[in-house]
């Protein structure tokens, strides 16, 4: 058989809390440093120790970043999932398994490499054998696939930082893994890795850390948060980087508060925004559920606030360590009564950084809650990044009146009066003594005074609608890739970016048709999204949820003549999207419309 080079998926089955995460990251880093396009997916349980964990490494010279629809090489260390993992493999797959797991290897249609991983590890350090066994399988793979030992050891050194003993121990474990392969096996599979010349200077970055850095370059002044997977690493990233980037003469230009719950975190964000500072929180769907009341207050009393939602699988506690795009509607229409909110939706780590700083400008410009919408897949997995672009614009602090002269120059100032005709009023800050009001969540007139008058309420709600409508074309425009023939268009968003190329290629191969794509990057929808729908015969709205939440928004907002051509393809099982699953569903819809 022909050699299969840099085009396969490795699935590593372990239990969490055994140290396998370090080994998997070393494997990923080694492949990355060899210049091979590679992505890693951590499928972890909501648990500290002992439950099944899988790590999927996808190598793809075509740059595909999705986990792939099948496993080519299976590493087996976990007795708990052993039979299930084994049963799922196609004939001809490679299985590298730990003979010390005391489990039977009952398939004869796979290529089997039995390795006494724990015994080998025990020769190095009996106490740490279970942990070191993980690096043994990295060594085994390095030998079988042809990975560079020097690069591997550099990756080990990077993983363990300044811990010299750990570096040496793990390096030796990887060498013993290699040695066992060369002494006991003749390679009988077709999988190989080959180094590639990739653009120098790339590095791995998780979406959450990129959001954290973006927030700091956006001038975050107050972070209030309550720990929740998968968002905690945004707050932890901010906490780690702030002292290095934002201390001034030994003092903090920021405050970080770990709140007692998400309600309090949201309240603190509003307090900071009310006082004229840039406040933010980071949470996930359950946290957003708890914050709904404050979201409505922020919208109605027009206080800038920033919320990052790193989506996990709902409803309820759901699958807390799995990924989904199920919170979109909740963000867009959050809180009771008529509301509409701005949502920024990054699809790459570079955009996580960019939207991280930009979101404060949007919130202060429009004096309203603004959501950053990420998900577990984008937020907690490591993605290849070529660099972070410094903010291209100065901070926009919005319509804040700071002096008496400024205030006097505004004709007929009122906190909620639409002086400029764009729906955005001016505001003064507490402590300034400039035309103070008592902010309230109750009905209020243009001067901020309590009112229940029907025309006053109606005019206020109408202005709020105009204000948010006015943001559409000022928010990040969609990324459109258009083919010459506009038969089929796909509208998608967020982390689906990492799977779309592969879906495109599968569709083209199967149907002979090229598809155009439009990645939505903000709500309310930019006018270019509607233009895209207008230009295409059939438009698939592709999402990682059950109900087609973006599809619902488009149906509600778009003119009747566009509705028949829009088709929803929405699917969610908690896994990062696998290209073929979604491509098959798209093809089924295309078949229905006979395209």
């Amino acid at each position: 058989m022909a050699r299969i080079v840099n085009d396969f998926s490795i699935n590593i089955a372990t239990a969490n809390g055994t140290g396998s995460q370090s080994a998997n990251l070393i494997l990923l880093q080694t492949l990355f440093d060899m210049g091979i396009p590679v992505s890693g997916k951590n499928l972890f349980p909501s648990n500290i120790s002992g439950l099944p964990t899988w790590y999927i490494v996808r190598l793809s010279d075509l740059g595909y970043q999705a986990p792939g629809d099948g496993t080519h090489i299976q590493i087996l260390l976990n007795p708990a999932t052993w039979d299930e993992d084994l049963a799922a493999l196609e004939p001809g797959s490679v299985v590298i398994w730990n003979t010390d797991s005391k489990m039977a290897m009952e398939r004869e249609d796979v290529i089997s490499y039995p390795v006494p991983m724990t015994k080998i590890a025990r020769t190095l350090n009996p106490k740490l054998a279970r942990m070191i066994a993980n690096v043994v399988y990295v060594g085994v793979m390095a030998e079988l696939l042809g990975m560079d030992q020097e690069i591997l050891e550099a990756a080990i050194a990077k993983q363990f930082g300044s811990k010299a003993k750990a570096i040496e121990l793990n390096a030796e474990a990887s060498r013993l893994g290699r040695q066992y392969v060369s002494e006991n096996f003749t390679k009988s599979d077709d999988y190989y890795v080959e180094a590639r010349d990739l653009e120098a200077g790339g590095f791995f970055l998780e979406g959450n850390e990129a959001v954290a850095l973006g927030s700091i370059f956006g001038g975050v002044q107050m972070l209030a948060w309550y720990p929740i997977t998968p968002s905690s690493s945004i707050a932890e990233g901010i906490i780690a980087w702030l002292p290095k980037l934002r201390d001034k003469n030994g003092k903090s230009t920021y405050a970080v508060l770990q709140a007692e719950d998400e309600l309090a975190a949201a309240g603190m964000v509003l307090g900071a925004g009310w006082a004229g500072a840039r406040g933010m929180t980071a949470t996930s769907g359950p946290g957003i559920s708890l914050m709904q009341e404050f979201i409505g207050l922020s919208y109605f009393s027009e206080i800038p606030s920033v919320f990052w939602d790193v989506n996990r699988v709902g409803p309820s506690t759901g699958l807390p360590t799995r990924t989904q795009q199920g919170d979109l509607t909740m963000l867009y229409e959050g809180s009771h009564g008529d509301t509409q909110h701005i949502v920024l939706i990054p699809g790459t780590v570079e955009e996580c950084f960019e939207f991280g700083w930009r979101i404060f400008d949007v919130a202060e410009r429009f004096q309203t809650p603004v959501f950053g919408f990420s998900d577990l897949d984008l937020g907690m997995n490591r993605w290849s990044c070529n660099g972070l672009e410094y903010p291209t614009e100065s901070m926009d602090r919005g319509k804040v009146v700071l002096t008496r002269d400024q205030l006097d120059s505004i004709e007929n100032y009122g906190r909620y009066r639409d002086v400029d005709g764009d729906g955005i009023p001016y505001r003064t800050l507490p402590g300034s003594g400039l035309d103070p009001i008592l902010y309230r969540g109750t009905g209020h007139d243009e001067d901020g005074a309590y009112s229940e008058k029907p025309d006053v309420y109606h005019a206020l709600m109408d202005r709020l609608k105009r204000k948010i409508e006015g943001s559409r074309d000022l928010l990040p425009a969609p990324m459109v890739r258009q083919e010459d023939v506009c038969d089929i268009g796909i509208v998608f968003y967020g982390s689906m970016e990492n799977t779309i190329t592969e879906i495109d290629d599968i569709l083209e191969e199967a149907t002979g048709k090229k598809v155009s794509t439009c990645r939505v990057r903000a709500l309310p929808l930019h006018s270019e999204v509607q233009d895209f729908v207008e230009r295409h015969d059939v438009v698939i709205i592709l999402e990682i949820n059950r109900d087609g939440q973006l599809y619902g928004i488009m149906r509600k907002e778009y003119p009747d003549h566009l509705i028949p051509k829009m088709k929803s393809v929405a699917f969610s099982d908690g896994m990062p999207p696998r290209a073929r699953m979604y491509a098959n569903r798209i093809m089924a819809v295309l078949k229905e419309v006979e395209l």
Binding site: G201, F203, F204, L205, I216, F217, G218, G219, Q221, M222, A224, W241, L245, R246, K248, N249, K251, S252, T253, A255, L257, A259, E260, D261, L263, A264, A265, G267, M268, L270, G271, A272, G273, W274, A275, A277, R278, G279, E293, F294, L297, C385, G387, L388, Y390, P391, S394, M395, T428, L429, P430, G431, G433, P436, I437, L438, Y439, R440, G441, Y450
Partner: protein, 348 residues
């Protein structure tokens, strides 16, 4: 013809008349204890010589939380959501530590829906005054028991309140609150002194003010209760009839003494001013006084506990001297070189 002498307007230490500290007209029931507290707030802020625009008026939801509209009209304020005033104040405080934060809340706001936020605000020792206008009843929703309602209180409909009341002062002392006091809306002199002291205190100051509800007083046996009036007036057909009462007369009780105060509904409340021997730095003495008053079915008033040594939240955060909200882009956005060094370290 003799000219009438022009009466000089009295000014405070920063040359402001008291008018600079007043607010809009109250929409509470006539005679409400909360209005008395509002006027004490005006007096205390004026007497302390705080610049009126440097005060931030904070509140939650409820009758009490409406009152910031009725005092300090030159101050910005925030009537937030039910029970969540502490978190909003916390967020505002850390970004602008130089304002004086004056929170007003009720017993529903503080002892039920917002008790968690109150507890954590005390725990963080935010530099603020937190006044609970405590009447033991939900006024705006028409008379349900609150968590501070005394055990044994009776309502016309439903059962006698058999649940234990939460004593916010005892809770605060136990939490290590740095300033804990109890007073009465009708004790203007004492309440003014306590609020003035609280405004000067650095840290969280809880003032539990007994403030009788003129409308829903939870005692239908009273001849002047809401229920009695409703059932005994032939002209009365709607439940939103609010009888008019005059504010309670002023009472000042010397230290160590007590006095029975007759409320609007004819019931009495026994108030005792804590003895001059009480050592406010002694938490156990404060708890003992509260417990003994509870056993004797009376309320002990005065400064119960005080600790000036606890660091306030803003001190613990090591903030810049300039309030965060006044920092500009040069302090808030790191340089391009800083980003380069971040990227270099990510490359490893």
């Amino acid at each position: 013809m003799t000219e009438k002498p022009v009466r000089a307007v009295k000014l405070n230490v920063i040359n402001e008349p008291k008018d600079s500290y007043t607010g809009g007209k109250s929409s509470l029931c006539p005679g409400c204890g909360h209005d008395q507290i509002s006027s004490v707030i005006v007096n205390a802020a004026w007497e302390n010589g705080i610049k009126p625009h440097r005060i931030a008026k904070m509140s939650g939801i409820g009758c009490s939380s409406k009152t910031p509209a009725y005092y300090l009209g030159q101050s910005h304020g925030f009537n937030t959501v039910h029970g969540r005033m502490p978190s909003v104040t916390t967020g505002a405080h850390v970004v602008n530590k130089d304002l004086t934060y004056l929170g007003v809340s009720g017993d529903g706001d503080s002892a039920s829906i917002g008790i968690g936020q109150l507890v954590h605000a005390i725990r963080r020792n935010i530099n603020m005054v937190y006044i609970v206008e405590n009447n033991g009843v939900y006024g705006l929703t028409k008379g349900q028991y609150s968590a501070t309602a005394d055990k044994g209180s009776k309502k016309k409909k439903g059962k006698t309140n058999e649940t234990q009341a939460i004593d916010l002062c005892a809770m605060a002392v136990n939490l290590g609150c740095s300033f804990v006091a109890r007073s009465f809306s009708g004790s203007k002199k004492q309440l003014t002194a306590i609020i003035k002291a609280a405004l000067s205190h650095k840290g969280f100051a809880l003032i539990d003010v007994i403030s009788p509800c003129v409308t829903f007083n939870n005692n239908d046996e009273s001849l002047r209760s809401y229920g009695y009036v409703k059932d005994n007036s032939e002209e009365l057909h709607s439940v939103d009839y609010i009888p008019h009462f005059s504010p309670l007369e002023q009472v000042e009780i010397p230290a160590g003494a007590f006095k029975d105060i007759t409320l609007h509904d004819g019931s009495t409340v026994r108030l005792e001013t804590i003895s001059e021997d009480h050592d406010p730095s002694d938490a156990v003495a404060a708890l003992t006084a509260l417990h003994e008053a509870d056993v004797a079915k009376k309320h002990v008033m005065g400064l119960l506990y005080f600790d000036a040594t606890r660091p306030a939240l803003h001190e613990d955060l090591n903030l810049t001297d300039t309030p965060l909200c006044e920092l500009g882009e040069e302090d808030l956005r790191p340089s391009p070189e800083a980003l380069e060094s971040v990227v270099a370290s990510l490359r490893g």
